[in-house]
């Protein structure tokens, strides 16, 4: 059901050519090297293995495989923890070295896009403090949140282009004894998932070939500083970002196209917290119902905090209006972890998702009740004080989830 490369290219009057030398924007890598040479910034380089992929205009982007500093997302950790734990679980399956820091704040971008109760200097200083903290550990930042990723890339551009902003941020960082550090790449975790997809496939335990899924590409991943997102000629003819879709295809999932793929999810930053009539209407009418009407998927998959929350939680109220809803929502990392035998509740944490996910697990042949009962046993031990909580020791081992 995926629109084929040929179909997309047929619609084009000119062939798609990606020529980095003809890119319409400055190459950020060169700008950063110049600033480093002038002694204006410390440029953090990737240590160890990395893979290079083409971005929108044909430039190359390095994606580190390990020694990563996990810049967590407040929306994941606060409201969809199975998203974050799936990312780390995947690292652990391959014994990849990572650091889960507590010397990290939220990027505060959600607040900024919601309320504007900050300014360019404040936002750049928050980013730079986090990057300096990562640099101190020697680990390279891997950004979990799509908004943090987009926001940081935009701030990086502002820092590169405005000396007065750099000077002001440096003045603030000086007070903490920190240098102005910018990593050589700003990397989103879904790019790491993309880089790892064939390795996930090699360790896949759950057949997913009977699943049809739609993809919601996250706005702040590929619309903010659009040139830096990963594109692949094999995926939609290089006309849409390749992350998420490429992973699902590697896992054997049938990716179905739908007409409103470019629309946002309706999150709205301020709207999802204090004006949800907009959020609910947009999520249901422009995304979920369109997917239902056009391809009726078993699942929709995305790669950002706000998108998972909005698309999932907005479906309940729409039932009262007899709208066509009922598509479970997961992140790419959760799908990959499930495919490799992660426990549906200890790791993927399905119970934090509200749209009914049971039919999806049943279609995969997973006896969710069995794993839910097992998880209830964990909760009983925690309630009675016999266990302080679930640890990686309880969660690391992959399970043969299907008979």
């Amino acid at each position: 059901m995926t629109t084929t490369v040929e179909q997309i290219l047929e619609r084009k009057s000119h062939p798609v050519v990606r020529d980095a030398s003809a890119a319409p924007t400055d190459d950020m890598h060169e700008c950063l090297l110049e600033l480093e040479a002038k002694g204006e910034i410390v440029l953090q380089r990737i240590k160890g293995d990395y893979v290079e992929f083409p971005t929108k205009y044909g430039r190359k982007k390095k994606i580190p495989i390990e020694h990563t500093w996990h810049h967590k997302s407040c929306g994941h950790c606060g409201h969809i923890p199975g998203y974050a734990s799936s990312i780390l679980w995947l690292h652990r399956q391959f014994n990849l070295d990572y650091h889960d820091p507590t010397d990290q704040t939220s990027c505060t971008g959600w607040n900024y896009y919601a309320s504007a109760a900050s300014n360019a200097v404040g936002q750049a200083a928050v980013m730079s403090r986090n990057f300096a903290a990562a640099y101190e550990t020697g680990y390279f930042p891997l950004i979990h949140c799509g908004t943090s990723f987009g926001h940081y890339k935009e701030i990086r551009e502002q820092l590169v282009h405005h000396k007065e902003l750099r000077d002001e941020v440096r003045r603030i960082l000086d007070k903490m004894g920190k240098p102005l550090v910018i990593p050589e790449e700003i990397v989103h975790y879904s790019e790491w998932v993309y880089a790892m997809r064939e390795r996930f496939k090699e360790r896949q335990l759950v057949d997913m070939s009977m699943i049809t899924a739609t993809v919601h590409p996250a706005c702040h991943y590929y619309k903010i500083v659009a040139e830096d997102a990963i594109y692949d000629p094999e995926i939609y003819g290089g006309q849409r970002t390749a992350v998420v879709t490429a992973l699902l295809e590697s896992l054997g999932i049938n990716v179905a196209d739908y007409s409103t793929w470019f629309d946002c999810c309706g999150f709205g930053f301020r709207h999802v917290l204090v004006q949800r009539d907009f959020t609910r209407s947009f999520a249901v009418l422009r995304k979920i119902e369109t997917m239902k009407n056009e391809v009726n998927p078993d699942l929709t998959v995305t790669h950002d905090t706000g998108c998972v929350t909005t698309l999932d939680k907005s479906q309940f109220a729409a039932k009262a209006h007899d709208r066509k809803v009922g598509i479970p929502v997961l992140s790419d990392a959760q799908v990959a972890a499930l495919a490799m035998g992660a426990h549906p509740f200890r790791v993927v944490q399905f119970h934090w998702h509200s749209t009914d996910w049971r039919p999806f697990l049943e279609k995969l042949g997973i006896d969710w009740q069995k794993y839910w009962d097992e998880f209830q046993g964990d909760l009983e031990l925690i309630r009675s004080g016999q266990k302080s909580g679930i640890t990686w020791e309880d969660a690391d081992k992959p399970i043969q989830l299907t008979a």
Binding site: P81, W110, A117, Q158, F345, S354, I390
Partner: protein
């Protein structure tokens, strides 16, 4: 939002907000124009409407990123004041509008307009952010935008019985997460070190962020300053 007829009017907009003087409106516009990002976000406008076709808020509100880019490009001070007081909070900040063939960033312009509106204490912005202060309090003080304990049934009734079920089980569910940085925490998304928070407070004071909060909500400002200063003095 001005009427369609006004939008097509090639002249400058009429004065729809006589409660503010032209000089005041111009001062606000110049504050927007002097923002370091302004010239990266606006290069003129073809009036092509590509931004509108991509804009989620244009589907649900009487709202248009094209009108905003146009008004800014023409430096139409009256229209910009209309936008400041009537439109900016409808934007979803999704940045779908950056498809603009002129390389404009209407969403970015709106971010600057919002900042200026807040800094100048415009009542419309205070109204739009009513009920939002607790989020600002959380993110500035705890270093996390959201936390599990914010998921309360009175606040998210439209999310259905899941929220009720969640809030009854929140404490035990939080312990059943394998990540050390999250496990057991309900008032923050992850554990943030004290040293890290003190650095964050330094940023808020040094960047001028606190002045914005003072204009927005004086009692929130007092609360934040009291806690942050005490923590910084104890350090």
């Amino acid at each position: 939002m001005p009427t369609t007829q006004e939008n097509w009017n090639p002249g400058k907009a009429a004065n729809r907000h006589p409660e503010a003087t032209y000089e005041e409106k111009e001062r606000l516009f110049l504050e927007v124009k002097n923002d370091v990002r302004y010239h990266d976000f606006l290069y003129g406008c073809y009036e092509c409407g590509i931004c509108v076709s991509a804009c989620p808020s244009a589907r649900f509100y009487d709202f248009s990123p094209r009108v905003i880019a146009q008004a800014m490009a023409r430096e139409d001070v009256e229209r910009i004041y209309d936008i400041l007081t009537e439109d900016i909070w409808n934007c979803a900040q999704c940045f779908s509008c950056v498809r603009c063939p002129r390389q404009n960033n209407p969403g970015g312009l709106i971010t600057i307009l919002r900042e200026v509106s807040l800094k100048n204490g415009l009542q419309e912005s205070k109204d739009a952010l009513q009920g939002y202060s607790r989020v600002i309090y959380k993110v500035m003080l705890k270093g996390n935008q959201v936390s599990p304990d914010m998921l309360q049934p009175d606040f998210f009734p439209d999310w259905g019985p899941w929220v009720q079920n969640f809030s009854q089980n929140m404490h035990v569910w939080r312990k059943a997460i394998p990540m050390d940085s999250i496990r057991g925490l309900t008032d923050v998304a992850w554990r943030v070190e004290r040293k890290t928070l003190l650095e964050l407070y330094t940023i808020w004071f040094e960047s001028g962020n606190m002045d914005i909060i003072k204009e927005l909500d004086e009692s929130l400002y007092d609360l934040l300053v009291e806690v942050m200063q005490e923590e910084l003095e104890d350090a």
